[in-house]
């Protein structure tokens, strides 16, 4: 690229024309210097009020009608939206919302950060490629909203909103971890729905249609197992089996499908927080470095100062290379994903260029490699867990001074299990990677069986890992709402320990949840 004769902007006022120019420059850097493959960007300038609205649904490009979003809107209004510079959505073209009260530098940082960094992860990462359909998501959400509105007209607003609440509660259990869903367009969806309705009409049987009788009644003696093996995608199971067993109706199954799609859209986000923010912060740094007065000279010195200010705010981490303020209290800071991701990539770049003997021992593959090749590989093939597990270096653990702390409820103290030394490196790295695993905080729940003989009782099984039990209160609320709206027959959640013994059992029947002590 040519050197610029003068900075492209002065002061902190911005114009749409400046943003357009900067968008082109930064995309050029991302494509030519970093070799990234990007979706086209659509940068939208919005008011802070519109920004608050967009924050409610987060990365989802369209809003469905549900009171829960209204509640969040009030909460966001109460806490204030300051500090949120942008929202980016996994669509094609990639939609990027920028708040109008950003300063010029903030705007440009946002464009480089999201328009290049997040955009590249959306387009290349295996999870997003596998689970999301950026081209069709807006189409699908419009279809979903139309469908939900029609349901509301037909079955009442309250019924639909309760059903939606139940689907949201089952959100974490609605992703097929193995199979890959095919992308569909609006018209495909309509055709599919039409087919489903026709099929239902063709196979309509007044005897089976009576909800109180099971279609397979009388076949008690025959052992039929549904599902054949435990199914982790509970929402999909209900969608497929519910109408078949006459437990829920077709339209209700269609609503669960909508939420399954939405959760599939969000699922890759939850698994790539560090990769996403790391890539985005690296890109913003790279773009501004390229444009600095020392290289291309497209931004002024004062703009660079402002950039460092924004950059430091975003990637700051209390405790990182910070040793002097200790006042007799052990501080337990949370980890900033932005910081961790950015430092991981910085460290990889350092290893590629100036490796130490330690790095040679740990990362022989990286020595002398092209950093941007490694970068492209990481954003395409890794999620948070594997990224940290693979690339977290001994130098980084010393910089962060990470330590692992065990909390045993039976003791009145926390115990330090390992610190940032040679002996503790592997353990701390593994714990940190585990912290970012999708199933780390999520109770492991799957469909165990449907008892066809006795009125389609559904049993969900929780398998205890590391002896962690379920929180009884949360099970009560969860089971109550799922039972009432999605499986109005008997429903059970059993908690199974390592030996396969049921230690806890909750039964929901006719709108009541009871906790039974198993025999």
């Amino acid at each position: 690229m040519k050197k610029f004769e003068r900075p492209i902007y002065e002061g902190e006022e911005w114009t749409p024309a400046l943003l357009q120019r900067f968008l082109e420059i930064s995309e050029e850097i991302a494509v030519e210097k970093c070799g990234l493959d990007l979706y086209p960007n659509e940068v939208k300038i919005v008011t802070s009020k519109q920004m608050e609205d967009a924050m409610v649904t987060g990365a989802l490009p369209l809003q469905l009608y549900h009171w829960f979003y209204g509640m969040q809107s009030y909460q966001i209004e109460a806490t204030g939206s300051r500090g949120y510079l942008e929202i980016v959505q996994n669509t094609n073209p990639c939609q990027l919302y920028c708040a109008e009260n950003n300063t010029a530098t903030e705007m440009l940082v946002v464009i480089a950060h999201a328009g290049c960094g997040h955009n590249a992860v959306y387009k290349n990462n295996f999870l997003f490629r596998q689970f999301t359909n950026p081209k069709g998501i807006v189409d699908y959400l419009i279809f979903a909203r139309d469908f939900l509105r029609k349901c509301e007209e037909k079955y009442g607003e309250e019924r639909v909103s309760d059903l939606m609440t139940a689907c949201m509660a089952l959100g974490p259990y609605s992703v097929d971890l193995i199979r890959k869903p095919k992308p569909r367009s609006y018209d495909d969806e309509l055709a599919r729905l039409q087919k489903r309705v026709e099929q239902f009409e063709r196979s309509f049987n007044p005897v089976f249609h009576d909800r109180s009788s099971s279609p397979l009644r009388g076949q008690n003696e025959i052992e039929i197992r549904i599902p054949e093996s435990p199914d982790e995608n509970i929402l999909k199971f209900i969608e497929k089996q519910g109408p078949r067993l006459r437990v829920i109706e077709e339209w209700e199954a269609e609503v669960t499908r909508i939420f399954r799609k939405i959760n599939e859209y969000f699922y890759p986000h939850t698994r790539t927080k560090v990769v996403h923010e790391g890539a985005a912060c690296t890109l913003q740094r790279t773009v501004f470095n390229c444009l600095s007065p020392l290289e291309l000279g497209a931004v002024s010195n004062s703009a660079m100062n402002n950039f460092f200010d924004v950059h430091a705010r975003v990637t700051g981490q209390p405790g990182y290379r910070w040793r002097d303020k200790f006042e007799g209290k052990i501080p337990l800071w949370g980890i900033n994903h932005y910081s961790l991701g950015f430092q991981l990539f910085q460290d990889i770049e350092r290893i590629c260029r100036e490796p130490t003997d330690e790095d040679r021992a740990w990362f022989p593959d990286l020595i002398g490699a092209n950093f941007w090749e490694v970068f492209r590989h990481i954003i395409a093939e890794h999620d948070d867990e594997s990224f940290i597990q693979t690339y977290f270096s001994p130098k980084l653990i010393r910089d962060y001074a990470f330590f692992a702390l065990e909390d045993d409820p039976e003791h009145d103290y926390f115990e330090v299990t390992d610190i940032h030394n040679e002996e503790g490196y592997r353990h701390v790295r593994d714990r940190l990677a585990h912290q970012y695993a999708y199933h780390a905080a999520l109770p492991n729940l799957e469909v165990a069986s449907v008892d066809i003989g006795s009125g389609c009782a559904l049993t969900l099984r929780h398998t205890q890992h590391d002896r962690v039990h379920l929180d009884g209160n949360s099970v009560g609320e969860f089971l109550f709402i799922v039972h009432r709206n999605l499986w109005p027959r008997t429903m059970r959640i059993e908690s199974v320990d390592a030996e396969g013994k049921v230690t806890d059992l909750w039964i929901a029947n006719e709108g009541k949840v009871t906790n039974v002590v198993p025999r």
Binding site: E42, R431, H469
Partner: protein, 453 residues
């Protein structure tokens, strides 16, 4: 710029679009759901237990349906867990940190901590304290005094704030910017014009002096007294010009005299006045339980009236063989009598009070009468006469509540049933159980056109 991708990317200014309305739908839904949940909870509470305990002080706690999406969680206290934190300074492997004061907030046991505090057990309920005013608001929703008409627009102690012109003093939030700027502009113009006029004057005078100086110098008399005087004068004018020029630069944009505040005045509002007569039978045939029931109903009505209509007068009459007017609510709610029942004496007192203090031309008159239904048979003629001639023609709404039994053959029930035909404003209801108070009450005072379940 040969990359084909670049030309697809673009910037869109969306600030003017109609985006905002989308979220209003969801906000509206949330508000409605929240409101409904409280209403349902209040209703449940009323049907569940007696309402006499609401008269105490303090907040009333209702249990409403949970307002969030439930999530399945682990119980952090069931097993040991391990977490990684940054910023180690002095710790070594095996160190033990006491749990109290060990962390600065983001440490252990945070999962669901805030939520648990507000939750009851089981199917997702939340305990929500309401102040008594809020609670009464929910109980009395959709209710009103029937047939209230504008009678006399005399009473004027109710005032309303209205904007009336502008004033030069006031609180900052009422500052009227447009007017203030207009005034300041005018003032600036005048002042600056004045200064500029003065400047012109001074400059003219200075020129004259300069002319004098030049004249003297032309005569080669630079030291002459005239020259010196002219120099002095010129210096004086020059200083004055500088002063004025400075002044021109520092005329304040706003002065106190420019400020204009929107002025609000209290405007008397015409109100309709109402008076409510409570007739309570305190004769021996009314058991303690019956009296308590009637008192609770009155108390409810009293709360309702004082809540919704500030300009409502109360007249409290209790009667057995004789009738008395009670001066205070406490007295009315706390008394009991013995002996036979003669309603006509209460009506007589009613007529006297009404004619003396509440002329029918100025007041909406409401009557609520509670009794077990018994009355001396000899008193019937007199009662009907009073009702026909005095009470009913002047009354907007007459409520008779039969306490303690639902018999249709009591003295009052029969008498009043007959009177209902010519006087549709007469309403009869029976009340036997405390839990019926609210349904009966809602039936009596439901808003026209509002369906009450």
């Amino acid at each position: 710029m040969d990359n084909p991708l670049v030309c697809h990317s673009h910037v869109v200014d969306q600030r003017g679009s109609l985006w905002e309305e989308k979220m209003m739908v969801n906000r509206e839904r949330f508000r409605k759901r929240y409101d409904d949940a409280i209403k349902r909870a209040v209703k449940e509470q009323l049907s569940g237990k007696g309402i006499t305990d609401i008269t105490g002080d303090g907040d009333i706690v209702v249990e409403i349906d949970l307002m969030s999406v439930p999530r399945l969680r682990h119980d952090p206290s069931s097993a040991p867990s391990e977490k990684v934190f940054p910023g180690n300074i002095i710790l070594h492997k095996g160190d033990k940190i006491p749990k109290q004061g060990g962390g600065s907030g983001s440490g252990k046991g945070k999962s669901g901590h805030g939520q648990e505090a507000g939750q009851g057990g089981g199917g997702g309920r939340m305990r929500l304290p309401l102040t008594k005013e809020e609670w009464i608001g929910y109980v009395f929703q959709d209710l009103e005094l029937p047939n209230l008409v504008l009678k006399m627009l005399t009473s004027s102690d109710e005032l309303r704030l209205e904007q009336r012109g502008f004033s030069s003093v006031g609180p900052a939030h009422l500052l009227d910017l447009k007017r203030t700027i207009l005034r300041s502009d005018g003032r600036l113009q005048v002042i600056e014009q004045q200064i500029e006029d003065d400047l012109d004057e001074e400059r003219k005078k200075m020129k004259q002096q300069e002319a004098v100086i030049a004249e003297e110098e032309a005569k080669k008399q630079s030291g002459s007294p005239r020259w010196r005087q002219a120099q002095m004068q010129k210096g004086y004018h020059l200083e004055r010009i500088r002063e004025l020029e400075n002044e021109l630069g520092v005329v304040p944009q706003f002065e106190k005299m420019d400020l204009r505040y929107r002025h609000h005045e209290m405007i008397p509002v015409p109100v309709t006045e109402a008076v409510v007569f409570f007739h309570l039978d305190v004769s021996g045939s009314m058991s303690e339980k019956d009296k308590l029931l009637a008192l609770t109903l009155f108390r409810f009505e009293y709360l309702f009236l004082t809540k919704l209509y500030r300009r409502v007068h109360l007249v409290l009459i209790h009667y057995h063989g004789e009738a008395y007017e009670c001066q205070s609510v406490e007295e009315f709610f706390g008394t009991s009598g013995t002996g036979g029942t003669e309603y006509s004496c209460a009506l007589e007192l009613h007529q006297k009070i009404q004619e003396e203090r509440f002329p029918a031309s100025q007041y909406n008159i409401y009557v609520t009468h509670a009794s077990d239904g018994d009355n001396f048979t000899e008193d019937r003629e007199k009662t009907i006469k009073f009702m026909n001639e005095v009470v009913l023609p002047r009354t907007q709404y007459y409520v008779y509540v039969q306490i303690g039994n639902e018999r249709k053959d009591t003295e009052f029930w029969r008498t009043f049933s007959k009177l209902q035909k010519p006087y549709p404003q007469l309403t009869i209801a029976a009340l036997t159980e405390p839990r019926e108070i609210i349904p009966v009450f809602r039936k009596l005072f439901k808003k026209k056109g509002v369906k009450v379940k």
